[in-house]
Symmetry: C2
Subunit: 154 residues, 2 copies
Amino acid sequence: METQPTQAATAEPDEITREVVDLMANLVALFHREYEEAAAARSLTGAQAKVLALLRRGPMPMRQIAQTLSCEPSNITGIVDRLETRGFVTRAADRQDRRVKLVAATDTGAAASEELRESLNFAREPLAALGHDERAVLRDLLQRMLAGAAGPGA
Amino acid sequence: METQPTQAATAEPDEITREVVDLMANLVALFHREYEEAAAARSLTGAQAKVLALLRRGPMPMRQIAQTLSCEPSNITGIVDRLETRGFVTRAADRQDRRVKLVAATDTGAAASEELRESLNFAREPLAALGHDERAVLRDLLQRMLAGAAGPGA
DNA sequence: CCTGAAAAGTTGACATCATGAACCTTTCAT
DNA sequence: ATGAAAGGTTCATGATGTCAACTTTTCAGG
């Protein structure tokens, strides 16, 4: 199966590409809704849940959080403020560079984040429509799509 | 490796499902970022662009917009207000039911929405890695995933 | 026909998110 | 030692989102 050269990767998308884009848009909307709902069920906002999810791998400087989420550092200040007030994260100065504030999830915060992740049955429902082999095909296709673009959670 | 299934209530997420979910999450993040950027490049917010996109099929009552986007009607009021101020949409009372306000895209609004849609090269980049036949497979898989869930573009 | 309940939108108050400019502290290169 | 640069914060501002209260319109009973 050599890739059918559309020979116009930047010019005009064909019909199938258009359809896939629309399907992705719907999927994105669906995912977003489920994520917000699951977060709200734990009295977290989507943004707070995203930050908390980032901290699963360990403490992280404010700036890095902002870069990962593609937003301004000043925005993160407020989100972390609210998470800190509720006892989900802590702020600590970095030993090496005292300008840096390392944000770390507390046990409570990590538990909430993990719980939320488990409850995210977004894909469980839609994916149930697919068989095992089809899921494998889907995985391979998605992997190749993401191979070129820089993933955020890398 | 805690492959120990704590419970198999509805479906035990196997390894492939888990991988697909993570891939989807990355793809969703990528798509979302591109969408916001493409909208911002036309001085539209994501929410405004979404509403405008909904009107591609024709005029729509406020309430239906709210239901489709899963938010409160009062929220739509503000978004449509701003779109109307910029001349992207119009509000008109329905003939049959004068309580209903039909929101319709102006030519300018429709053009902006279409232009944004065209510029969404999110999929052009990642999808370029796939051949024509593979894109068709992907489309079919996504279609079946969305068939079960209530898609917004229904 | 009249009255009241229900539906569609709007308004207002309020919290969150997001940006940009100005600012403080710390680091680092001269 | 001095000044530039970097990491965070603060402030002002705008957009998003919810909820409660309100207006207008529709519709069902009496």
